[in-house]
């Protein structure tokens, strides 16, 4: 019941998007400020489509999106100002260095140059990229590229960070660094929403987990709450598979 007193970071109501078939089908979702929320689901469940609508990359057919109390459909610029988006493929420029990339991001988010520079150096240090700050990204490994993208998402100090499969393809050390930075972010009061297929990660990192199937949220809560809903007491993987199978039978 503590959630009732916490501010809402993201509120989705009746969100709907149809391509050839419904991808997101009347989704209701609430994520609270300072929360680490993991959105899991089978392939094609509508996770990425949902997040792309939240970040303004797709326009929903119906429904509402509120980010930190801002109507994201009515005032997308204000909503984007407090949001960061990290895709599964790092969205960076091969011919720019990490520092130049962060300067570019600072320009897009209208940051004070001095503050942006200080945060950029801090982030590159935390993510182990300081020695590579002046190297072009074209020679970087996937892990390094993903860390540059993450630095780009954090440099403008967003209230809500949305990550789509951020740990895919990362080695253990890089994954640990990314997870640590995200945890620090939540500890500092930020909100993180992440999709992942790695259920162990969701189990260990998330405060709450939402399971989405066929564009609808079929279960949501802490790991214990999900156990109760599924009647399983094992890992998140067991719970997830039971809930998804139950949904398939019901359909």
């Amino acid at each position: 019941m503590q959630q009732l007193t916490r501010p809402v970071a993201l509120a989705l109501r009746g969100l709907r998007k149809t391509f050839d078939r419904p991808a997101v089908d009347g989704l209701d979702l609430t994520v609270y400020g300072g929360e680490f929320y993991a959105l899991v689901g089978p392939n094609g469940a509508g996770k990425t489509t949902t997040l792309r609508m939240v970040t303004g990359l797709l326009r929903p057919d119906a429904g509402t999106i509120a980010i930190e109390g801002i109507d994201a459909l009515a005032d997308p610029i204000a909503a984007k100002q407090v949001t960061a988006w990290v895709a599964d493929e790092a969205m960076i420029y091969d011919k720019l260095t990490p520092l130049e990339y962060l300067e570019f991001v600072a320009g897009l988010w209208r940051m004070d140059a001095g503050e942006a520079e200080r945060r950029a150096h801090d982030l590159l240090g935390w993510l182990g990229l300081a020695p590579h700050a002046h190297e072009r990204c074209e020679g970087f490994s996937k892990g390094m590229r993903q860390k540059v993208a993450l630095a780009g998402a954090l440099v403008h100090d967003p209230k809500l960070i949305i990550l789509d499969e951020p740990l895919t393809g990362l080695d253990a050390a890089s994954a640990r660094q990314v997870k640590t930075v995200l945890h620090e972010r939540v500890r500092a009061g930020g909100t993180v929403i992440m999709t992942t297929h790695i259920l162990d990660v969701a189990e260990r990192m998330a405060d709450r987990i939402g399971i989405i199937v066929g564009g609808r949220l079929i279960a949501e809560g802490t790991l214990d709450e999900l156990h109760r809903q599924s009647g399983q007491s094992g890992t998140l993987e067991d719970t997830f598979l039971t809930l998804v199978a139950g949904q398939a039978e019901a359909a």
């Binding site: 792309r52 970040t55 303004g56 990359l57 326009r59 610029i77 204000a78 984007k80 100002q81 949001t83 960061a84 988006w85 895709a87 969205m91 960076i92 420029y93 091969d94 011919k95 720019l96 260095t97 520092l99 130049e100 300067e103 570019f104 991001v105 600072a106 320009g107 897009l108 988010w109 209208r110 004070d112 140059a113 001095g114 942006a116 520079e117 950029a120 002046h134 190297e135 072009r136 074209e138 020679g139 993208a149 780009g152």
Partner: protein, 509 residues
């Protein structure tokens, strides 16, 4: 079906890949377009034959007893074809070196790598020869129709030029690898390819400018100096030209020589091709450290940040620079003519201005495609707190800025000579560049920067509209420079093209 691992089996594999690549290029990856492509090709081939008839039908009765001026003209034409094919072949060879695609599969398979790369080189030669023959076909067909089957020998000469161009480009590229290393070869080879492709035409234009003050290539070939220094009629130098005219001995000699040179090149270079390709594949993982112009972050608005980003990306991509270099290279002769005009005080603006205005349109089209359609991180930019219209405006500003940088010196020189001509040129450049940019905006589709050379195939309507818009603005500027009110006619036509583009462009969400 041939046995796996044999030369013929590998050749079949290469052929299949090349064919699918060609189909994809023609249909822009959409199978439903296939019938449209067939119709378009039919129309294009017919139009080319009509054009060829108008251009060469009058020369069909030239026979083997041709005089020196005729042989010079034929040899000059062969030289132009050779330089263009050499450029094309160098592009293909460089691409073969730097394309990673199936390299690791090949090198880890038990098939002889020498055999694989020999087939790959042969495939480059075949595609170069095929391209040459396809381009020459309308002209040769017209000559055969009007002058008899002896003109069929021209196909043999064209194929020989293709083979020779491939052999020379293999030797040149491998030499560059050895001298400059894998890291620099790509850039240098592509610049060399661009220069070689334009060099012959430009050289002839430069000679023409100095000798007769015009841009005509043939006036240079028929100049007194060339005629007096030409080899004797029975010299070996004329054999390619004589082969075109149907001399069987000359044809056999030219074909045998080119086949031998190509075979020698393949045998010599296939052994080390794999090593060079591996070295090229390792280039992408090399570290490039970048020195910052300023030690601290600079405060920039979102539009400034986007503009600076676009300029930085373009400046740091030598491949893209080399791709646009060709268009700039063709500006050299008009620029020289401008300089001569400026010194001599005569008024050749009517010839000069449209050339520059058209080049500005073409260059702006390419740059607009790069900045608008080939954004590397489209989702990231779209997720930033900046209106989509501001993003597009910033990109248009980046294009216009680059155009201003390239063309400002020419406008500046002309303004010194004639303020009126300078203003007309500046306006022409601005309108032509703006028109091409608007067309790219209307037909924008998400693409990769590496697909720059294929941008024309993604929307043929956009390509034609861009070309006609540039031509119309060039005509407007030329007529305005001539001081006639008829300049309004092509100007209105250019505006109609832009209006038409607005009507037929795909709707945006």
């Amino acid at each position: 079906m041939s046995q796996a691992g044999t030369l013929s089996w590998l050749a079949g594999h290469e052929l299949r890949l090349s064919f699918r690549d060609w189909v994809s290029l023609m249909t822009a990856g959409r199978r439903r377009r296939a019938y449209k492509v067939v119709i378009a090709l039919g129309v294009f081939v017919t139009a080319m034959h009509v054009f060829a008839y108008w251009l060469v039908a009058g020369y069909a009765d030239i026979n083997l007893t041709a005089d020196v001026p005729t042989l010079i003209a034929l040899t000059g034409t062969i030289g132009v074809a050779m330089s263009l094919l050499l450029s094309q072949a160098m592009e293909s060879v460089t691409r073969a070196f730097y394309t990673r695609a199936d390299l690791e599969l090949i090198l880890t398979s038990p098939v002889s790598t020498r055999k694989v790369f020999a087939v790959r080189m042969l495939s480059i030669a075949a595609s170069t020869m095929l391209l040459a023959m396809l381009l020459a076909a309308p002209f040769i067909d017209v000559l055969v129709l009007r002058g008899g089957v002896r003109w069929l020998s021209a196909y043999g000469v064209v194929a020989s030029i293709g083979a020779l161009a491939t052999a020379i480009s293999l030797a040149l590229t491998v030499a560059l690898f050895r001298v400059c290393g894998a890291k620099r070869t790509r850039l240098i080879a592509q610049i060399v390819a661009a220069v070689v492709g334009a060099a012959f035409v430009i050289a002839l234009q430069l000679v023409a400018i100095f000798s007769s003050g015009s841009l005509s290539r043939f006036s240079a070939l028929q100049s007194h100096w060339v005629l007096t220094h030409a080899p004797a009629l029975d010299a070996f130098f004329w054999w390619p030209a004589r082969a075109v005219l149907g001399d069987p001995v000359a044809l056999a000699a030219v074909m045998a020589l080119s086949a031998a040179v190509l075979a020698a090149a393949i045998v010599t270079f296939s052994r080390r091709f794999g090593d060079h390709a591996l070295a090229a594949a390792g280039v992408s993982s090399t570290i490039v450290r970048q020195r910052r112009a300023s030690a601290h972050f600079r405060h920039r608005s979102p539009r400034q940040a986007l503009r600076v980003k676009e300029w930085t990306l373009l400046r740091r991509d030598p491949w893209l620079i080399s791709q646009t270099l060709m268009q700039i290279l063709y500006l050299l002769p008009p620029a020289l003519l401008l300089w001569i005009t400026f010194r001599a005080g005569n008024e050749a603006y009517v010839v000069l201005i449209p050339v520059i205005v058209m080049a500005a349109g073409q260059l702006a089209g390419g740059l607009a495609w790069l900045t608008i359609s080939a954004e590397d991180a489209p989702d990231f930019v779209a997720s930033a707190p900046i209106a989509p219209s501001s993003v597009l405006l910033a990109k248009v500003e980046a294009v216009i800025g680059m155009i201003a940088l390239v063309f400002a010196p020419m406008v500046g020189v002309l303004v010194f000579d004639s303020l009126r001509a300078g203003v007309i040129l500046a306006l022409g450049i601005l309108l032509s560049a703006a028109g091409a940019t608007l067309i790219q905006l209307a037909f924008r589709v998400q693409a990769k920067r590496s697909h720059f050379r294929r941008r024309q195939t993604s929307s043929r309507i956009a390509t034609f509209a861009e070309a006609f818009s540039s031509i119309s603005w060039a005509a407007t500027a030329a007529m305005a420079a001539d001081g006639t009110w008829f300049a309004l006619v092509p100007g209105v036509a250019a505006l109609c093209i832009l209006g038409g583009v607005r009507v037929i462009s795909p709707p945006r969400d």
